[in-house]
């Protein structure tokens, strides 16, 4: 069984490296990859910045409220999901990493996971 475990972990890592891995903000040596801090409370969604340079973009979302929350990056139409992170319990910080191209987007916190969420425009500029 250890062989099988090793093989599966190996496969998972290969899969990760081949497809969907992105640089962690803390670990990227060249310092690229903008980081935006988000504070989600039960009635507010506060971002440390409303613009960022294109490329790897990390939203570090902290739930400062009492309800569980979700954070979305939506397209300019406010419908297409560019990225989402769920299961952010109170007191917890989770990251959403997206490859953002130049354009306008909508950020959204969804405290209590219901309703239209608290929305705001977000701009990604050329690097």
């Amino acid at each position: 069984m250890p062989h099988r475990t090793a093989a599966l972990v190996g496969a998972a890592i290969v899969l990760c490296l081949a497809s969907g891995c992105t640089d962690n903000p803390s670990g990227s040596a060249d310092g690229t990859g903008a980081k935006v801090k988000v504070s989600s409370t039960d009635d507010a969604c506060t971002l440390s910045a409303t613009t960022a340079a294109s490329g790897s973009l990390v939203f570090s979302v902290t739930n400062d409220g009492a309800k569980p929350t979700e954070f979305y990056l939506l397209g300019s139409d406010g419908a297409d999901v560019v990225g989402e992170v769920e299961n952010i319990g109170p007191g917890v910080t989770r990251s959403l990493t997206v490859q953002a191209e130049k354009g306008t987007y909508t950020t959204m916190c969804k405290p209590g996971m219901v309703g239209k969420g608290i929305r705001a425009p977000f701009k990604v500029t050329d690097t």
Partner: protein, 283 residues
């Protein structure tokens, strides 16, 4: 703390239910010798999830949103295929049990033994990465407050306790009832997992229609409530469900449940044609 507790409970229930029914089944059919396979499957899933989650949380690489949704969605749909197989494997064995073909039982168990590891692994592992990422995030918060981690772990613990209680209840049923109820319940569980996987793929942009909702009961059944947690953790009912999810759920439940009911009702254990597990819709 309650909110983190409910997230832990929900994620835990999703994994615990299938495993507990599987264990109850093996105990019920005197196949305790196969139990280690279940534990091996669970152990593999937990260790991969925890390790992969730690690597993504603390290592130099994170996982893109799309990749995480595609992993969760694909594993869920594969899990449905295996759980469906398991339902019919169980009902087939049930029929040969009611009859007298002891040898047939051994044959069926032998054929299924390797797959048992996989079923247990997929049941726990399909959402294992998301759960691990949530747990590691809660652990990271421990510097300032230990409430999130404590809540999450208590939630997972409660899910295990509930699983054990369900197991105890299930093994007390007589054999015929046991197969009918656990099988029927598993069809609903699998259908929920399938709809969940579809939603992951919709969010990941692989499938369309993430915003076309068939219904939205979020106002009546708040997703952060305990009853929404239980509904979500057991049959994966989401208060806001897309048309594609509803369609695929129906396309799965109607034929699989009819096949299952007819296979349970069939009285004779004669070498009946084995109903092939079917996976409808989806991919």
């Amino acid at each position: 703390m309650l909110a983190n507790y409910l997230i832990g409970l929900r994620e835990g229930l999703e994994a615990a239910l299938v495993v507990c029914i599987l264990v109850a089944y093996l105990v019920k059919t005197e196949r305790r010798d196969l139990l280690p396979r279940i534990w091996v499957g669970v152990a593999i899933a937990v260790s991969i999830s925890v390790a992969f989650g730690a690597l993504l949380t603390y290592g130099p690489k994170g996982l893109s949103f799309e990749a995480q949704e595609i992993i969760g969605g694909t594993l869920s749909i594969i899990a449905v295929a295996f759980v469906t197989w398991m339902i019919f494997w169980m009902s087939r064995t049930a029929r040969s049990l009611k009859g007298e073909l002891e040898a047939r039982l051994d044959l069926a168990a032998g054929a299924g033994a390797g797959a048992l590891v996989l079923v247990a692994m997929l049941a726990v592992g399909r959402e294992g990465l998301e759960t691990a990422l949530f747990l590691w995030a809660a652990a990271q918060a421990t510097g300032s407050t230990s409430q999130p981690l404590l809540g999450a772990l208590l939630g997972l613990g409660s899910a295990v306790v509930l699983g054990v209680l369900i197991y105890r209840g299930a093994v007390k049923l007589d054999l015929g009832k046991f197969f009918t109820w656990t099988g029927g319940f598993l069809v609903l569980v699998a259908a929920g997992v399938l709809a969940y996987g579809i939603h992951d793929l919709q969010e990941g942009g692989v499938l369309p229609g993430v915003n076309s909702l068939a219904f939205d009961f979020s106002a009546q059944i708040p997703p952060s409530s305990w009853y929404a947690t239980v509904l979500r953790g057991t049959i994966n009912f989401t208060p806001a469900t897309t048309w594609l999810q509803a369609l695929v759920w129906t396309l799965y439940v109607v034929p699989v449940l009819s096949l299952f009911i007819s296979s349970v009702r069939r009285p004779s254990p004669a070498p009946a044609p084995t109903p092939a597990p079917q996976l409808h819709g989806g991919s």
